[in-house]
Symmetry: C2
Subunit: 714 residues, 2 copies
């Protein structure tokens, strides 16, 4: 009898109770191969609401698919005011994504808290784009639509009730004892009383990413000029200095499409006025027009923190946070009032006089200067929610301003998140590690964002050229000389090689533009990791370093990741060299690969070693690759300007087909169907390869002049 | 009219509403100079509840004081399920504490999330003892009694409504632009719907710390043997090897009070059985007794993660977490059932046969192996709460076991928190940076915990000796040879100097024991930073490094902190040298200071440079310092064993008084008043200094034999 009462007591006090049984998620296929599930009471404000984009119309054309996971293996539980998530993992499954990581690609086994922040030299979830999306090597994706800091255990912890529990080992005697036993689940903790989840079908991993990107409108489509070259000048240059800079590019024959002005264009910065400095830029409208006349657009640096000296200060103050940033007030951009005031000012002062875009700085975070998590915002959204979405908000509402003016933009932003794929902004940061920058470029493709490995300064001409080579094979070819005042020809001994690279960038514009069109219409990341490439081994080689209990008592096997080569567009494999390297290994996936410069056969499904010399970045073309190129213009073609094409074909395949995107290149007319895909076709007739381009469509833009075919492989 | 409706809409939708007005806290003086304030609905489980200790009876004797802050400047707000805290800061105020930091002492301006964890090479709040307590240079302390991860902004953010707002600067033109403007508040975010707060009066900063320590029972009082020397042997040693080790110490004349056995004493480890290995230790009871007979006690390593092969496994399983650690199940030690099973096993298998204490490992965290925050516990407490308190729980309930057996213990633990001051455990870790270890020793004094700069291995005999010197001036003089198998004489060329240091440690036992008694009865940290010393300048010199926008765009002035000297007990200033140093600067606070070894005048209120040679660690004695010492025994005196005293006096003060603590040294009899303070008095008679000790109290312990006085300064 006593025992019974004890039992009752324990029961009522919460002891002995089994954990509240997890809810099974009810999934709805909202688009073909995209399922949405809602559990509990999700926060009213989330990433997709902040981004506020329409799903791409392409989704309608996709095929329905089977739900790619066993729903019984997914567990979602709401308790203690938080949502506990569990997704299954197969033994040999690999995971990619979880935001813009800088040092790791394979995410299985990792622990992170997804948190908008400046990258702080370790992949712990704090990054410029802490996208809560992951893609599996088994060909599906998962997205957690929350604007909170999400704790992620990506196959790192073993549950007591695991169906595939790892073997128990004795560390005293078992030399193979592992600090991290095998885990069969991705677990996540969301500090909210419910959650909205999305699952994406493949069948291939890249298809899951495409679906994720299409859900928020597909990738962005930059104007053609956005894919040219851009120079960001010294922060205190005045208009004469900027004009001189543009003239120097032109005189020396370096391409240049837009110049970025750094803080000094504003009358005050950190905090900002958003107003032109009357001494350095006495007549902004005239200045912007003059620059435009010589083919160079103007991009403006800013951050969103409002100076007491800004004319909008008093008006926007009621819609700002409790805490300041560098003594500037922080607009609550989740409120229409704040947006209207801030971007109203932008539109009037900048966009209306022809400014082409922005570099929006310091919206990623960095605890030491940002508003703290104890800050409050007048919308009632928490500091955490604003931090996770601020990058989305500045992109969304600045982009809307350009759309309203029917002029495409392409700029830079230092923070983004899920839902932002369709915003024409490229992420950058101050880390400046060439190796990390390439890893970030790879990871951008897993997270629906763009990243530029920008060039700033360099210690040697070798470093300068090596960095320049990679930035020309990235979403934005840029020198950022805000502090260094460098120019492409800063190192005279490599100035010609730099010019060659910049010209190559321009010549490849048709390829890049079509690549971005595929990002926009199909969701395919323009720059992406080798693991998304068919025929590239997915296995990871783990290497256990010799045990040293003294220095590393929890030593674990480290995965050897391929972080130094990537895919650019449909056909190109880029394998950069870093300072100090004269040769490197390149892993060629299955199938034949050809040297981009010579067309010669390079290898197939093997590891080759290349010694390209300083002036070349190794690039390989997939068998049957069709690469449309144009002359090395100094500026991108203007709207509807016709350019001749040189189309290269690589390999000996007797038939191949590709497509070339075309539109006016500058306006939003493409959203009203004013675009075309031209078929590029290679066939063999009587043993001789021939290339053709389909005829232009009636009433559609046509910027294609004379077409020449080059069969690169003999 | 329309405007009015818009206003209503905005109002009801949360826009335009002023932030919910902060509540003013109602403070109650619960002990003299200690105020408690409760706001909202604090969590039912908190740090003090986990530690579950009684406040020290000393508190009754303290004087009442005025509330040390302006209550109007304190703001506490509960919203969005969280508690928002704000405490004021004066312009020149400095802050210390916020847990066991390893690289910083001055905490003003810092941002951290207090989070139980292994120290990860940066002071971001993740540490072995993330104590939510800070002390101000103005002489007050603040404690936030929450077992959650607390976000701390220790004077780092500026509020829009700041009364002392910093000057707005323009980064374009102002060379003194600061990345971190001055802030006048400590802000904290506690993820709970209310909070219990404590404020401690001074008048001096050290008094606020004393009050904080006394609130949870005062500091711990180790047994005398705990302050001797301890050796932790190789993890796989068997009983014969352990006996041989003890014999070698004795044969060579090195003191030794207890030996620590590492994982191999258990039949299996990682996860653990808590049972003796029958091959390495076939007869544990006999072994422990034999060791005790030669004056050496046994301490056992363990972690709390239960192996499926442990005899308690099935019994404890219902009271364990959802997730495992190294495949071991995790007892929910907030449940009496779990504690009873685990410590019942410990008591039966270890304590009852004479084991003297434990080293409780891996209770601090380290995400890569610990239970994740998505784990659930049968008590219903969250993984976060268990993580913040697990170190407290293992200390509390293992200590209770020894108390029940009326035998004091002194051991090691890798995690602790606020409330744990009275538990006789010293914190350690794997970081093994000599410099960081000294910084941690200093910070332990601000956080109510103890820390040992343990010696493991060394690359050179110089490093070995330098490390050994500091560990002998710390709470636990220890070599941890678990992986290295080192011994004090491992480096033959410094073996004699090491022996001298170990003997000095033993000779100083009366001083150390009284120092700990003051920790216990008065709350005074035995080892502490110079900033708590009167006459030591509190000002911080900030040094702005030359601006390099390229490499560090948010460069800030860095504070020059004094991290390489500290106070040990009432009188001693310790200034260790690190590898590579032959001389160093020492800052002597105001007042005269004397060389510990020679008694010679060293300086007063000045910076001196010392070149002590390899065999000495510079130690200075405050003017009028009375240092009781004893012969260099190989083992601490047994309970009630009498030892002769040599009492040293430093300086030329004509009168001084100190007190010497005495009790049996081994049992809990002191809790029943079985202790005594003997007065040590120096007076001048006819110009000649004379020392006296007060007579023993009737019916009180008396372990003092013959007393000799040495007047060190001529």
């Amino acid at each position: 009898m006593k025992r019974f009462y004890l039992f009752l007591l324990l029961l009522t006090s919460g002891y002995l109770l089994p954990p509240a049984s997890a809810q099974s998620v009810r999934w709805h296929e909202i688009h073909p191969g995209i399922w949405k599930g809602t559990v509990g009471k999700p926060d009213a404000y989330d990433l997709l609401k902040a981004a506020d984009t329409e799903p791409s119309s392409t989704l309608k054309k996709l095929k329905k698919a089977d739900f790619p996971l066993n729903n019984e293996d997914i567990s979602v539980e709401v308790k203690n005011g938080k949502t506990y998530l569990r997704f299954p993992l197969e033994r040999n499954e690999q995971l990619y994504g979880f935001g813009l990581n800088f040092q790791t690609i394979h995410q299985r086994g990792r622990i992170m808290q997804l948190h908008a922040d400046h990258y702080g030299k370790s992949d712990n979830g704090r990054t410029h784009a802490p996208v809560p999306f992951y893609v599996s090597s088994l060909g599906y994706g998962v997205f957690v639509n929350s604007a909170k800091y999400i704790d992620v255990y990506a196959g790192s912890s073993v549950r007591k009730d695991s169906r595939n529990a790892p073997e128990v080992q004795d560390r005293n005697t078992d030399k193979n004892w592992q600090a991290h036993p095998y885990s069969d689940a991705v677990e996540m903790l969301v500090p909210a009383e419910g959650i909205e989840l999305y699952v994406f079908a493949g069948p291939k991993p890249v298809n899951a990413i495409e679906r994720f990107n299409l859900l928020s409108g597909g990738g962005c489509l930059p104007p053609r000029w956005g894919l040219g070259f851009t120079q960001r000048v010294n922060r205190l240059y005045n208009e004469e200095q900027v004009k001189a800079e543009a003239k120097a590019f032109s005189d020396k024959g370096y391409p240049l499409d837009f110049i970025g002005l750094e803080p000094g264009w504003q009358s005050k910065s950190y905090p900002c006025t958003f107003e032109w400095d009357q001494i350095r830029f006495p007549n902004p409208e005239k200045f912007v027009k003059e620059m435009d006349a010589v083919g160079v657009k103007i991009n403006l640096w800013t951050n969103p923190y409002v100076s007491p000296d800004a004319s909008i200060y008093s008006k926007i103050k009621p819609y700002t946070a409790s805490n300041t940033v560098w003594n500037g007030i922080v607009p609550d951009l989740s409120m229409p009032e704040a947006r209207k005031i801030l971007f109203g000012q932008f539109e009037k002062e900048h966009v209306k006089i022809g400014v082409s875009g922005y570099k929006i700085d310091e919206v990623d975070g960095f605890d030491t200067y940002l508003w703290p998590d104890v800050a409050t915002f007048p919308s009632g959204h928490t500091a955490e929610q604003l931090r996770q979405t601020y990058g989305l908000l500045v992109q969304k509402y600045s982009y809307d301003m350009f759309r309203k003016n029917n002029s495409r933009t392409y700029g830079l932003v230092r923070g983004s998140n899920a839902g932002g794929s369709s915003f024409p902004y490229v992420i950058y940061n101050d880390n400046y590690s060439h190796e990390d920058f390439i890893t970030a470029l790879i990871n951008s493709g897993y997270s629906g964002v763009l990243w530029t490995p920008e060039v700033r300064a360099s210690k040697t001409s070798e470093e300068w050229l090596r960095r320049f080579q990679t930035v020309c094979f990235s979403p934005m070819a840029m020198i950022n000389a805000w502090a260094s005042s460098t120019q492409p020809w800063t190192f005279p001994d490599v100035a010609e090689q730099v010019k060659d690279m910049a010209q190559l960038r321009m010549r490849m514009m048709p390829y890049w533009y079509s690549t971005f069109a595929k990002y926009h219409y199909e969701g395919t990341p323009p720059f992406r990791g080798m693991n998304l490439e068919e025929g590239f081994g997915m296995e990871i080689n783990k290497e256990k370093t010799p045990t040293n209990l003294e220095e590393n008592p929890y030593e674990e096997a480290t995965a050897k990741e391929v972080k130094n080569q990537y895919m650019a567009g449909e056909y190109l494999l880029v394998a950069p060299l870093f300072t100090g390297q004269t040769s490197r290994k390149v892993i060629l996936p299955k199938g034949k690969w050809y040297d981009f410069y010579t067309g010669k056969f390079a290898g197939e499904g093997e590891v080759i070693t290349v010694t390209p010399g300083l002036s070349k970045i190794p690039v390989f073309v997939k068998d049957g690759g069709i690469i449309p190129m144009m002359p090395a213009l100094l500026h991108a073609p203007k709207a509807n300007e016709k350019v001749d094409l040189e189309i290269r074909y690589y390999g000996k395949k007797q038939a191949a087909v590709s497509s070339l995107y075309d539109d006016d290149g500058e306006t939003f007319a493409y959203e009203n169907n004013r675009y075309t895909w031209r078929e590029l076709k290679v066939e063999s007739r009587n043993g001789v390869l021939r290339g053709t381009i389909s005829a232009p469509e009636k009433d559609k833009p046509n910027t294609i002049g004379r077409v020449t075919w080059h069969f690169m492989t003999n």
